[in-house]
């Protein structure tokens, strides 16, 4: 149980040592699978016909990563984030990124308390379990990097004092790929910090019709009852890290990362961080399927969400028509699946 969420004002480094309650029952894979499918079902009741997107979001949640949602406005990016937060009964904060947004708006600020004559830390929007960064590419690079530090470190440093963030902590940033004017596109280094990038895509016509039917009256989020809490998710996330990844499978991930670096179609291949996150996400995927070990299919399923936003096509235009997805699919096809230790 993290104490950071309970104390106000926070003291630096508070609760850093109390990572989890040692008396709690260790979660089994079945628990993970059950909780995950509960969350999945809950979110699905709000977002129609987007099972794969929800699946990836749950995977990222359980793997302790962050999610980059890239799509046109109005397809439910924010709704997905809200539904996810509500289904795990955790606080959600939303930051609308604009060019004039300051880093302190994100992280928080120390203000002078006239009564106690001390500086007090006022927490920013980042102090929540689920943080939705809307149109993250509209903020200035300075503000963006403030957010990114939090994402990577799980902590905030203001005036030399470090504050731990809530756990579980997940940033779901959205980007609009259409209106690029006046935006600051995320540099590669920052994109690399998102575990996965997904596009919502338009719903199918049946799903859209259903949505109009169901959501016409009551706001759907109001009907969503939480199926878990932050502590449970945290427990599950810890269990996920224990899912077995055999040497052959780890080799497979390294081979794939290596292949993206060697590929002539890609100017920038996957980073070691990408390999790491691929493995973590693969563990979560395996756990979601009720398996205590990762199989190659888990990895293959995640190649595009996890790697597509990290690699850059070579300027040599002959690969452009295939797109990143095509190039990655080709790499997956080519890399042999190791059958055992080499």
């Amino acid at each position: 149980m993290s104490s950071t969420t309970d104390t106000d004002p926070v003291t630096p480094e508070a609760g850093a040592a109390t990572a989890h309650d040692p008396t709690e029952q260790p979660a089994t894979i079945e628990d993970v699978q059950r909780v995950a499918s509960d969350i999945h079902r809950a979110v699905s009741s709000v977002i129609e016909g987007k099972a794969e997107v929800i699946q990836t979001a749950v995977v990222v949640l359980l793997a302790g990563g962050h999610l980059l949602l890239e799509d046109v406005p109005g397809v439910g990016k924010t709704m997905l984030a809200k539904a996810l937060a509500r289904s795990i009964d955790s606080p959600m904060r939303r930051i609308q990124f604009t060019p004039d947004l300051l880093p302190s708006d994100v992280t928080g600020v120390s203000v002078f308390n006239q009564d106690s004559r001390t500086f007090e830390f006022r927490r920013g929007a980042i102090f929540a379990n689920i943080v939705v960064g809307d149109e993250i590419n509209r903020a200035s690079p300075k503000t963006q990097s403030a957010l990114l530090e939090c994402m990577e470190e799980g902590q905030v440093t203001v005036d030399g004092d470090t504050y731990r963030l809530a756990e579980p902590f997940m940033v779901m940033a959205t980007q609009n790929p259409i209106e690029m004017e006046g935006t600051y596109p995320l540099p590669e280094a920052q994109r690399d910090r998102f575990m996965a990038r997904i596009s919502m895509g338009y719903p199918t016509s049946a799903a859209e019709l259903e949505m109009l039917d169901v959501h016409g009256g009551v706001p759907p989020l109001d009907r969503l009852t939480p199926v878990a809490d932050g502590a449970t998710v945290q427990r599950m996330a810890r269990r996920v890290t224990e899912v077995h990844a055999s040497p052959a499978l780890r080799q497979y991930i390294v081979d794939i990362a290596g292949a993206t670096r060697a590929s002539s179609s890609l100017r920038l291949g996957a980073s070691p961080r990408a390999s790491l996150q691929l493995l973590r996400a693969a563990r979560a995927t395996a756990a979601l399927a009720g398996r205590d070990h990762v199989i190659p299919e888990d990895v293959q399923l995640l190649i595009e969400p996890v790697l597509a936003h990290r690699v850059i096509l070579s300027s040599d235009n002959q690969h452009l028509h295939r797109g990143v997805g095509g190039v990655l699919a080709e790499i997956v096809r080519r890399v042999a699946v190791p059958s055992g230790p080499r």
Partner: protein, 766 residues
């Protein structure tokens, strides 16, 4: 323009044809025809080059070449017959060619008909070589017509060809291949060639490996072609095929014609092993079956054998009169042979001599009053003959009456007369019969060698010896030489003698059945003796003919060891040191060795067949065994730590053997499962087993270690059964005998063996 003609390739093609043609020189007499053929080959090649220069389509080139060849052949051979006699002239020439091929021994004379056929066949094949190697740029295929020309020679020689002919042909063919590849490479532009140049990894497996493997393969092929025939036993050609244009005595399907030209100067080619007839008799040593007797000897050739004219018509069962000169003898007894499956064409009919009576069924027949030889009006398949066995006691000493009547049978050949008289004088003998027996013993002695191949012609006093003298000097020959020598020696002693042609009876099979083969054709002398009449002698050594006739053996019992002084001491010291064997013994143990020879022949054939079968059987076992060994090695490698993996890989190789190759790219277990689902058409139980096997495999590969060891043995069996169930019997047998995994192992082994020079070269290059 010139480039389009492809002159260098054309030149190579002509060279190829000429080299393939070359061994024909061992078959045909003279050499002028060779130059004619070379010129004609060059001519059709030049026609092709000219047509290519004007960019004619391939079919037009071919057509023009064929027409040009036909026109030239017609002008050369039929220029006198460019009118209504054209067709009959062609017919005559073809007939002549046919006769030449059928009747002549090697080397054959080049008759106009044969020349015309050669002028059609060889340049015709030259057109094929030109079309394939130059016009179509596929020099590899041009090996086929080249081989056909080469086969014309190889299939018709009785003896082995000099390997040099083959090496020359192989070198020309490989040059054509190399030149063709060089042309191909030069057509690449250098930029594109660079773009196509493979990277190092592909270099090992790709072009370099392939071309050097091909080089090695070519080399190995040539070496094997030279070595294997030396190491292997040399089976008679008729085991495998009848060669092109073979058949010294073959005349059409199912009928045996009998060639009555006997040339002493020529090697006897290997003749056909097909049967002439089958007969049964109770006679323990049946005489040869005679077809004709008589003939006139001149210039080393027996000619003018009597024809079937002036016959005495006879009827079945009626006894024939005693032959001329034969005294009635109570002790002479009669044997019977029953001939079946006779294939000899009318009017000739093989018969023992002398016949007492005959039964040819419905067919009209008669016999020659001089030779007592029966003739028929049409071919008879089966007939029955009684023949007399001559008895020695019928012989009467004393001088022969009416020498005039036998003038023809006493005439010596002028070329060899003095040598023959000299030798006959040295052999000597008390009376006619004794002299004849001594001659026979002399010729059957160890000094003489039976051989189908004649010794080279010797020269005496600057003159080449005539064939008979050459035989008497070199003491090497076959039945014709032996018979002729005996005839001439007898005539020199004043005994009338004539040539008889026919067949040896061969070896008896079950229940006294004898099968006479075409290759049993034989020649022997008949001597006219007082009281006995025309009597068969057998001077040809026992290795070929078995024992000499019994009546020629007894008389010499008291005639102790008539040594024959040898005048030709210069020929060989051994022959003078070891004179003829004592005439008491015909030759050493002829009968058993003759029989034994035949039995070992037969045994040898059986052994060859058994060996071929055994090799085939071993060959059929090789691949399954290799596949099994591979499975065992997989198991051994993985069994301990990853048992399921081992079973899975074995399952994959077995599925490969059943015709479902493993997926090309190594995918995850589930991807592999999908692959096998789409390929194998498994029944539901098989699908279940496959699913379960894949899950077990996945467990072993990816789950945390320490889980209980599992096995997919049962699932494997179900899957394999399911796949086998879908297959037809031929597929199942094929996958058992030729399993894909075994083939792969074999291929890898071959690559390793033949690839070592390539690897060596590759290493040096790097």
């Amino acid at each position: 323009m010139i480039a389009r003609a492809r002159l260098s390739e054309t030149g190579l093609a002509v060279l190829g044809a000429v080299v393939a043609l070359w061994p024909l020189t061992t078959l045909l007499e003279g050499g002028g025809w060779l130059w004619g053929l070379i010129l004609m080959c060059a001519f059709v090649a030049l026609v092709g080059a000219a047509m290519r220069t004007v960019r004619a389509p391939a079919s037009a080139i071919l057509l023009v070449q064929v027409v040009a060849l036909l026109v030239v052949v017609a002008l050369l051979n039929l220029h006198d017959h460019l009118d209504t006699t054209f067709a009959s002239a062609i017919h005559d020439l073809v007939q002549e060619a046919n006769d030449t091929v059928r009747k002549s021994a090697v080397p054959a004379p080049v008759t106009p008909g044969l020349l015309m056929m050669l002028e059609l066949i060889v340049p015709g094949l030259m057109i094929g070589i030109d079309f394939l190697s130059v016009t179509s740029r596929q020099p590899a295929l041009a090996g086929v017509p080249m081989m056909v020309i080469y086969m014309l020679s190889t299939s018709n020689t009785g003896s082995a060809l000099n390997p040099f002919f083959f090496i020359a042909l192989a070198v020309v063919w490989l040059t054509m291949l190399a030149h063709g590849s060089g042309v191909l490479v030069r057509t690449w532009s250098s930029v594109r060639a660079r773009a196509l140049t493979p990277t190092l990894h592909e270099d090992q497996l790709g072009l370099t490996g392939l071309s050097s493997a091909a080089r090695t393969l070519g080399l190995v092929t040539i070496v094997l072609a030279l070595v294997v025939p030396v190491l292997l036993p040399h089976p008679d050609p008729h085991y495998f095929a009848k060669g092109l244009g073979r058949g010294g005595s073959g005349g059409g399907e199912g009928v045996v014609a009998f060639s009555t030209t006997v040339n002493l100067a020529k090697d006897l080619r290997k003749t056909d092993g097909s049967p002439v007839l089958t007969f049964r008799t109770t006679d323990l040593s049946p005489p040869p079956l005679r077809v004709t007797a008589g003939g006139r000897y001149s210039d080393g050739e027996w000619k003018d054998f009597p024809s079937s004219t002036g016959l005495v018509i006879s009827s079945d069962g009626k006894p024939l009169p005693l032959p001329e000169g034969e005294a009635k003898s109570d002790s002479a007894y009669v044997e019977t042979i029953k001939v079946t499956d006779n294939t000899m064409s009318a009017p000739n009919v093989p018969a023992p001599f002398p016949i007492a009576s005959g039964d040819f069924g419905q067919t009209r027949w008669g016999y020659s009053p001089t030779t007592q030889q029966p003739y028929v009006t049409q071919k008879v398949t089966s007939y029955e003959l009684d023949y007399r066995i001559p008895q020695k006691d019928a012989y009467k000493t004393g001088p022969l009456q009416d020498q005039q009547k036998f003038a023809g049978q006493l005439r010596l050949d002028p070329a060899s007369a003095s040598r023959v008289r000299d030798l006959a004088g040295r052999i000597g003998g008390s009376d006619a019969f004794d002299r004849a027996v001594r001659i026979q013993s002399y010729l059957r002695s160890d000094d003489f060698t039976y051989s189908l191949k004649l010794a080279p012609t010797q020269t005496r006093d600057g003159k080449k010896l005539d064939p008979l003298s050459n035989f008497l000097v070199t003491k090497q020959g076959y039945c014709t030489q032996f018979a002729t020598a005996m005839i001439m020696l007898a005539r020199a002693d004043g005994i009338p003698a004539r040539m008889a042609l026919g067949f040896l009876p061969g070896a008896p099979a079950a229940n006294d059945t004898y099968t006479v083969l075409q290759s049993s054709a034989h020649a022997w002398p008949e001597l006219y003796l007082r009281g006995l009449g025309w009597t068969r002698f057998e001077p040809t050594p026992g290795t070929r003919t078995g024992a000499a006739p019994t009546y020629t053996n007894e008389s010499t019992a008291g005639n102790g060891g008539g040594r024959v002084p040898n005048a030709e001491s210069s020929t060989s010291s051994s022959s003078s040191a070891a004179p003829a064997a004592p005439s008491t013994q015909p030759t050493k143990a002829v009968t058993p060795s003759g029989q034994g020879q035949r039995r070992t022949d037969w045994l040898g054939d059986l052994l060859v067949v058994l060996a071929v079968l055994a090799v085939g059987l071993l060959g059929a076992l090789v691949l399954p065994l290799l596949a099994r060994r591979q499975r065992q090695s997989i198991s051994a490698r993985l069994r301990e730590h990853r048992p399921v993996e081992a079973q899975w890989q074995v399952l994959q190789t077995r599925l490969g053997d059943l015709g479902i190759p493993p997926p090309e790219e190594e995918g995850s277990p589930r991807a592999t499962e999908r692959y096998y689902r789409s390929r194998a058409a498994l029944p539901p139980t098989g699908l279940e087993a496959l699913h379960s096997a894949v899950r077990t495999l996945e467990q072993e590969r990816y789950a945390a270690p320490g889980t209980a060891s599992a096995s997919i043995e049962q699932q494997s069996r179900k899957i394999l059964d399911g796949v086998r169930h879908q297959q037809s019997w031929p597929q199942r047998i094929g996958s058992t005998i030729l399993p894909a995994s075994g083939r792969a192992v074999f291929r890898r082994g071959v690559d390793r063996v033949i690839g070592w020079p390539a690897r060596l070269l590759g290493m040096r290059r790097r």
